[in-house]
């Protein structure tokens, strides 16, 4: 832990355990029941784990005639046992490219999965071999950039590289579509009504009523875009409604240039009624990259995760009314996703192995060429739930 600016009564989160993985992950989400964790991988699979609470160890009673156990040496470093384990379940397969987006239905036992070849799938997620409920292999022409589910569980929203925003029923029926002018990187449902917000590669954010099919307000997040030589550098990654839909957070990066893609993580808060920018946060230096994911904690704060140059990554805790995060955790590399457990007491992040860059060390000594991986780090929020 570092860079702490603890707020009153905030107990810094404690990492319970790191769970290795053999592939890189794009996104991780807890199920609404809290018993499962699922993650979309940079291959056509969804990784699943059961979240298993360990029984608290019984208090050992020393019997008078039993030999005494040797005490552990004073310098021994035994990590404390995690009270929670993630027990791996068989992967969900049949997807293509990357699974960059997943979303759990808030009530039913359904997981929605979007891949980068345009497939949108609804599937059961419990048991060893859960079956798909429905799938649409051409939901988009290519990369589905973002998948969102409405809070009432009635609708899905997707957006893609094909410049479309689409709204579906959770039974898979297309409700409405909007053809935009550029690659659409993020979409989110407003808490109530039939309004979605979407953001494109140029940092243009708009709302759209999928009931009336009318365009709504426009928000200028062009600070998250740069034309760098030939490259349109898109910094926009996340859209999050907060404060009951009164505010919209746009997260990503203020790009300094393409190629290496340096830029500072950025979050911009807009008033959804007026469209005016309320607050703009920049977190860190150009090497720190993007705010890639945001989780809202019912305690009134955001958990933001960032990923930039290989090795850099942060987990930040921010109250929307404050200028700076009140706590920042930096002992993780390239955090790509964060998910809050429904009990509000734990969260998990999908991060990266250390030293993930590849220049100058293409292969291991034995000539093999292992890929990078995304360990899942499980944290406890202590007294902050």
């Amino acid at each position: 832990m570092s860079d702490a600016k603890p707020a009153d009564k905030f107990v810094p989160p404690k990492e319970l355990k790191m769970f290795p993985n053999d592939r890189q992950l794009c996104i991780a989400r807890f199920s609404p029941c809290g018993n499962f964790l699922a993650a979309g991988a940079m291959e056509g699979t969804v990784r699943r784990w059961s979240v298993v609470e360990k029984p608290k160890p019984a208090v050992e009673v020393e019997l008078p005639d039993e030999p005494k156990k040797k005490p552990a040496p004073k310098n021994a470093k035994t990590p404390p046992e995690s009270p929670v384990e993630l027990v791996a379940l068989p992967h969900l397969t049949g997807f293509n490219g990357w699974v960059q987006n997943i979303a759990f239905h808030p009530k039913d036992k359904i997981l929605f999965v979007a891949d980068t070849w345009g497939r949108l799938t609804a599937t059961a997620y419990e048991g060893d071999a859960p079956k798909p409920r429905w799938e649409n292999v051409t939901a988009h022409d290519g990369w589905i950039r973002r998948l969102a589910i409405s809070s009432d569980g009635q609708h899905l929203a997707t957006c893609g590289r094909d410049q479309f925003v689409r709204v579906w029923t959770t039974a898979g029926k297309l409700v409405a579509e909007h053809r935009h002018t550029d690659d659409v990187f993020a979409v989110a449902f407003a808490p109530e009504g039939k309004l979605v917000a979407f953001g494109d590669e140029k940092g243009r954010v708009k709302t759209w009523d999928f009931g009336t099919k009318q365009a709504g307000r426009e928000f200028d997040a062009s600070a998250l875009y740069k034309l760098s030589r030939l490259q349109d550098v898109c910094g926009l990654r996340t859209l999050t409604f907060i404060e009951g839909g009164k505010s919209l957070l746009v997260g990503g990066c203020e790009p300094a240039g393409g190629g290496f893609l340096e830029g500072a993580p950025m979050l911009v808060k807009f008033d959804t009624t007026t469209g005016k920018k309320q607050t703009e946060w920049k977190f860190g230096a150009a090497k720190d990259g993007f705010v890639l994911d945001v989780a809202w904690h019912p305690g009134g704060y955001l958990i933001l995760v960032t990923s930039g140059q290989p090795g850099s990554g942060k987990i930040m805790f921010l109250r929307p009314g404050e200028k700076e995060p009140f706590f920042t955790h930096t002992n993780v590399a390239n955090v790509h996703s964060v998910t809050l457990h429904p009990d509000g007491k734990r969260f998990a992040v999908a991060a990266m192995n250390k030293a993930s860059n590849g220049n100058g060390r293409p292969k291991t000594a034995d000539g093999s060429y292992p890929g990078n991986t995304s360990p899942v780090h499980l944290f406890e929020l202590g007294g902050n739930g």
Partner: protein
């Protein structure tokens, strides 16, 4: 013949025959004897080169050699091309339509994974160390083949940023064979004769300039003064063809087809230059070093290359120039199969691709292959020396029989232990 002549002097003679003097002899001698149409037809048969340099390293996996649904394959799909059984990344739909005109080598395996050394090493053909800097390919062609009968500069470079004369490209050949670079695709400032000057006044000024030049040259090394004169003379030829740089008068459809991007517009200028008779046109594009966010970067960059490159291939084929023009698109290396924490790909010289087309090459060929994950070449790969042999052969220059003469030091044109990629050649 002088009984004390050296073997390389014979090579020099041969070179001169193959090179600069050939064009001058053929067309200079015919000068006023052939009709303009016939002269133009003959000029169109002169060999030319288009060299597209994607600086930083385009990902082979997001372009010529995709590995969909594999560990390092990335998010993109593949698409069919006009060559049955060959697929490109979905980011290259226009090149896919031109695949029957391309020759893609997928088993390039080079040695340098740093830009600082790799750019020059690759463009010089990475020969054995002879203690002198070798010329870039463009300078080699300028030396070996000279200007075409158009008398336009032999080696030009259309690039983003600054322009000027890049003598360093020429290595030991001397500054005369450097590239004349047009920064941001713009002609040199003051290219056109000022409106207040008459042609006669302009001639008088040039006579005076030549007097000064001779005085200046008398006190300096000939290589540098020759280069200065060469650049000036080339610029004067360009004065007659300022239209080459003007893409604004082209139909909107044409501009859209190439893409209204820096690379698209520079490729159009390159097309104009090839049509006008420039021997070697290099088009540079920067920003391909996608260590971060490689896939979104590729989604932005590759289609812009795709559109511009496919359009010029299509146009060169339609005009008949492709038959006599060697077209090359490449970088200093490829990109790692492994995806780093910044969702980028790093430098990967071990297994990457070069796309070519045109004279001397097999159209529709896909040469070599990488393994299933794209981490290594299958069988034997080709280093850049072999690629240089291939290019020289495609242009009708036999690098096994032709040598440079570096002030008496015979030097091979390309790595003398390497061979041309025979599968790529007609």
């Amino acid at each position: 013949m002088n009984p004390l002549c050296k073997p390389w002097e014979h090579a020099t003679s041969r070179r001169q025959f193959l090179g600069a003097s050939a064009g001058a002899m053929a067309f200079g001698a015919l000068g006023g004897l052939v009709s303009p149409q016939a002269a133009e037809a003959m000029r169109k048969k002169e060999k030319q080169v288009l060299f597209v340099w994607l600086d930083g390293g385009m990902s082979q996996l997001e372009s010529w050699d995709p590995k969909p649904n594999t560990e390092f394959g990335g998010p993109f799909r593949t698409i069919k091309t006009t060559v049955p059984g060959t697929h490109f990344s979905e980011l290259m739909p226009q090149c896919a339509k031109q695949a029957h005109r391309l020759c893609v080598v997928r088993n390039i395996a080079t040695k340098d994974n740093a830009h600082s050394s790799g750019v020059a090493r690759i463009q010089r053909g990475d020969p054995k160390n002879r203690g002198v800097p070798y010329p870039f390919f463009g300078s080699s062609i300028a030396k070996l083949m000279g200007p075409t009968s158009s008398k336009l500069p032999a080696y030009v470079w259309v690039k983003p940023g600054s322009g000027g004369f890049k003598a360093e490209d020429a290595g030991f050949l001397g500054p005369k064979y450097g590239s004349l670079a047009f920064g941001d695709g713009k002609p040199p400032e003051d290219l056109l004769r000022h409106a207040s000057l008459t042609a006669e006044e302009d001639d008088e000024r040039n006579e005076l300039r030549e007097v000064f030049n001779r005085r200046y040259a008398a006190q300096r090394r000939p290589a540098y003064t020759e280069a200065s004169s060469y650049v000036f003379d080339s610029a004067r030829e360009l004065m007659k063809r300022a239209d080459i740089f003007d893409t604004t008068k082209l139909p909107a459809k044409e501009l859209d087809r190439y893409g209204r991007t820096e690379l698209g517009q520079h490729m159009l200028i390159a097309r104009n230059m090839l049509e006008a008779g420039v021997r070697f046109v290099k088009v540079g594009s920067y920003g391909w070093d996608t260590h971060g966010d490689n896939f979104n970067a590729s989604a932005s960059l590759v289609p812009k290359f795709d559109r511009a490159f496919a359009s010029i291939i299509e146009d060169l084929a339609a005009s008949g120039l492709l038959e006599h023009t060697l077209v090359i698109a490449m970088s200093e290396f490829g990109r790692t199969p492994r995806i780093n924490g910044h969702v980028g790909r790093d430098h990967w010289p071990e297994a990457w691709s070069i796309a070519m087309a045109g004279c001397g090459l097999k159209a529709g060929a896909v040469v070599g292959a990488t393994n299933d994950k794209g981490t290594d070449v299958k069988d034997k790969g080709h280093d850049i020396g072999a690629v240089f042999h291939t290019w020289f052969n495609a242009l009708g220059i036999d690098p096994k029989k032709t040598e440079y003469n570096n002030n008496g030091q015979p030097l091979p044109l390309a790595h003398d232990e390497m061979e041309a990629i025979k599968e790529a050649l007609v």
